[in-house]
């Protein structure tokens, strides 16, 4: 945590949040899908895997490779949830009749957040932690 590049983690979190937000906007205009929250959430679940991988790539490209992916994932999720609190809920959810409570207690939010962190962690495990250059240098 000490050597973690927090600003880079926040930047990566903003990047992933932007991609997910854009996807939700696109889906809200897509015929058939736009009327079903569950279908939208399922599609976002699929796309979040490559989005999170991109976010992890951006972080670890110049971030500290020894920072545990779980910690990086937590920081990125925290960033995304913060952006949801200040942008998504007041400007998208509330106008549609929702609330902070309905948004943050939605089970899909918990699933997507867990998926986000898991993907970042496993990316770190697979692509960063066990690179040959890392092992050779140890």
């Amino acid at each position: 945590m000490k050597n973690m590049k927090i600003s880079r983690a926040i930047l990566s979190g903003i990047l992933v949040w932007s991609m997910v937000f854009a996807l939700f906007i696109i889906l809200s205009f897509t015929p058939v899908i736009k009327d079903s929250t569950i279908q939208q959430n399922m599609i976002v679940f699929i796309f979040l895997i490559p989005f999170a991988a991109i976010g992890a790539y951006v972080y670890y490209k110049k971030g500290n490779k020894n920072t545990n992916g779980f910690v990086v994932g937590l920081m990125m999720v925290a960033t995304s949830l913060f952006l949801d609190a200040i942008i998504t809920v007041p400007y998208v959810i509330v106008p549609q009749g929702g609330s902070y409570s309905s948004f943050f207690t939605d089970p899909f939010l918990a699933i997507i957040s867990a998926e986000f962190i898991t993907t970042i962690f496993l990316y770190w495990k697979l692509k960063v932690k066990h690179q040959p250059s890392q092992i050779a240098g140890q």
Partner: protein, 179 residues
């Protein structure tokens, strides 16, 4: 060797999670095909529609979402972990499982069963006439059951492939680490 053990543990855990969640979902789908839909199929039109509507709403919970979506996360990631392993067919087994589950379970649900569920969910059944109930059931039941049969078969096939993977994989698969 300790670091290898840690890495093996991660990929084994992922494979175990993928297999467990796929097994649970295949079990759910099998039970619906084998007992639930034939059972409620014997109800009257209104009884069938009300029962199905309640079950559709009840199943939308956190645990089911984890069981349904989990394999889509863990199976391809398991494939990524085994991408450099030997024998190579382990990787392709996992890729094949991902494709079968993705198309046969996820896409069929997304584009087939979910729209039917939404159609039923958006219908007020409290004051529905017998004629409208019969029409709604006719437009729902057979289509839903056929789509669900596809999901049952493909989820079971995915489970079989994952079990095969568990049996055929070798523990010392990260040869790149061992070098």
């Amino acid at each position: 060797m300790f670091k290898n053990a840690i890495n093996m543990k991660t990929q084994n855990i992922i494979l175990l999670l993928a297999t467990l969640l796929t097994g649970l979902l295949a079990g759910v789908f099998f039970t619906w095909t084998n007992a639930i839909t034939p059972g409620i199929g014997r109800l009257s039109d209104i009884g069938y529609l009300q029962t199905f509507q309640h079950m559709n709403r009840a199943i939308l919970n956190l645990v089911f979402f984890i069981v349904f979506l989990g394999p889509l996360l863990f199976t391809p990631i398991a494939a990524a972990f085994y991408s450099k392993s030997k024998p190579k067919y382990i990787f392709w087994l996992l890729i094949g499982t991902t494709v079968i589950y993705g198309l046969g379970v996820f896409i069929v649900t997304l584009l087939g069963n979910l729209p039917l569920n939404d159609m039923l969910d958006n219908t007020n059944l409290e004051n529905i006439s017998l004629e409208d109930a019969k029409g709604l059931r006719n437009s729902f039941e057979d289509k839903w059951n056929n789509l669900h049969l596809i999901r049952t078969i493909t989820s079971s096939t995915s489970l079989i492939l994952l079990i095969l993977t568990c049996l055929l994989k070798k523990d010392d698969v990260r040869t790149s680490i061992n070098n």
